[in-house]
Symmetry: C2
Subunit: 367 residues, 2 copies
């Protein structure tokens, strides 16, 4: 894809109420007939060529002599002509952009995942357009469809909702789609996921192996796929060890510090507190670490998701680490394979997790 995306224009933006150009009179360039933005007609007039010739130069098509191309380019530069990709998408099928719907722009896990998606997009000459749903299924749908309305070539979606049939018309119309971190709901589609169940089971088994029996689980809202899978892994590990799980040991809900703090303090209080905590994601972990640091009694901790500086705490935090970059990269690569036409059957790809023992998960029970 040639790097001439920046050359284009159509008529100047107009004020909806007055119908006038929104650029003050004093700032309009006198040589433009259509308000402030030079058009291809302006370029053709200045270069003394036909409109089709300008179009060929702008779109990188053959059939123009070097001398003519030079004249057209001079006119483009002199007028400050920019191509309007909104008009271009009506003539061709591809806009060279990928949409990404994620959950939270400020969560480092999604930050790393996004960056990996963007690197793949860039390698394919595509722009990454992203926005976040804040775990709201309605917002996810609004964003995804708004991106489709802007004719993205493909969509990478981290779902907030569990029903993606709203995307079926788009998929049928040719928008490549890959789901990542959580599966699509009610439709067949490519999904790239961490082994949430297996990772949680392994993390809890690690605590059991170090002698713990009263183990707490603090996770995200139960309607979220990853939270439910990690709870399922916790329950499986406890069952395999023959330990009945008490209701008081499990708390799922919002990851805000107030809720998590209360949950942690309750599990650590009373005559039979938990001796270890399994923390369901990095947002929960940040608060759990603080609560544990305030306690006099030492409580073991295994956390799902790694955190920057987690290894520098005393003790270092034992984690079940996801590979956010691999999740993002794999999803984006599958997207481009779909666009190449080489990928036809939706698949579910699981990316392994990795238990990293740093100290907090190996503390023995305090009693």
């Amino acid at each position: 894809m040639r790097n001439i995306l920046w050359k284009a224009c159509v008529t100047a933006p107009v004020d909806d109420r007055t119908g006038h150009s929104i650029v003050p009179e004093t700032q309009r360039r006198p040589e433009n007939r259509y308000g402030n933005r030079p058009t291809m007609k302006d370029v053709a007039a200045r270069a003394g060529v036909g409109l089709k010739t300008v179009s060929r130069v702008v779109n990188g098509e053959p059939g123009v002599t070097p001398e003519t191309e030079r004249r057209v380019q001079e006119a483009i530069d002199a007028l400050g002509f920019r191509r309007n990709d909104s008009a271009r998408v009506l003539r061709k099928g591809r806009t060279a952009s990928i949409g990404l719907v994620l959950e939270d722009l400020a969560d480092p896990f999604y930050g790393q995942l996004s960056r990996a998606v963007e690197e793949v997009a860039r390698a394919h000459g595509a722009l990454l357009i992203n926005g976040s749903s804040a775990e709201d299924p309605d917002r996810e749908q609004e964003l995804a469809l708004a991106l489709c309305a802007r004719r993205v070539d493909g969509l990478v979606v981290i779902p907030a909702g569990d029903d993606h049939r709203y995307l079926e018309p788009e998929i049928k119309a040719g928008v490549a789609t890959v789901f990542v971190d959580r599966p699509a709901g009610r439709i067949d589609a490519d999904c790239v996921l961490s082994d949430n169940f297996g990772g949680a089971r392994e993390g809890v088994a690690h605590l059991l192996a170090h002698g713990h029996r009263r183990i707490g689980f603090i996770g995200d809202m139960p309607r979220i796929h990853t939270a439910a899978e990690r709870l399922r892994g916790y329950r499986a590990a406890m069952e395999e060890a023959g330990i009945p799980v008490e209701d008081a040991w499990m708390s799922l809900g919002a990851t805000d510090p107030v809720r998590v703090r209360r949950a942690a303090e309750e599990m650590l209080a009373g005559p039979a507190p938990v001796t270890a905590v399994f923390s369901g994601n990095n947002r929960v972990t940040v608060t759990v670490i603080r609560v544990l640091a305030e306690q006099t009694r030492r409580t073991a901790l295994v956390a799902f998701d790694d955190l920057e500086l987690a290894d520098l705490l005393q003790p270092g935090v034992t984690v079940v680490a996801q590979d956010a970059a691999t999740l993002g990269r794999t999803a984006a690569e599958r997207l481009f394979r779909q666009l190449d036409g080489t990928l036809l059957v939706p698949e579910r790809i699981e990316v392994p997790i990795r238990l990293v023992a740093r100290g907090s998960g190996e503390l023995p029970p305090a009693d």
Copy 2:
């Protein structure tokens, strides 16, 4: 802005080489005349109304009876009609979207800044479209102009380069523009910045007040505005204390762990090592903290930028904290004031920093 962005379509995407619709024959809906995407004409035919009536319903314009609107809506739902915003932008001036060019999707500072921008955009009914420049001025320009070519209403730019005259045609044409974190180069524009110079000077003065004289500075690449300003603040504090700065005490360059580690180890080696370090940003700090933790001798540390868990380290990290959310929110709010037409004169807004003493910056010199 009514929430009907998702209703639209034009002709189906076509394969550039064959001219055929890129959707396989078997997946096309038999009732559509234009390949896979239903058109407004299809909706009109199904509802038994004129095209203009459909257009009124789709665009939320008055002049349609409730009964007619219901019939049109039924046809829209039955056909899965979606509005193509690419076509719509040619008729109106605004696309209800904001572009954001930032430096690194995976840096938590930019993550928080982005989220704040997005929250303001959403409150104005606009979509946030963002991408990252990876500190490459060419990539910054490519992204910014590609976003303009997609007719964003406004641009929030975290500059990688120092010459923004390439944006003048866009600004003249009415694209609202605000620069954040670093100033625009060679043009007059709204800028929202932290007090980088003052913050660094205050952080170094804090170390001087605790008895340090041999103080090291490790920062980002000197061509980056924030890095240069923070170095200037370091130098000013040292000069005000009457201490000549040795070349060996300053290291500016890439923030990758290898380079930063080497710089830190050099300053801490030899017969007259530094007794304190001022770290120029959060990427540098992450590595400096590790190097200091490996040393036997205690070295004081003040870091520009806060970091998650920084207060839980032993000792807690003393920081000069920026307010990323305020930077982002202020920039986005100025953008929408520009779009309202109420803001005409470019301004430079400085957001104060905040020194947070947690232990590492108050350690006395080891000698």
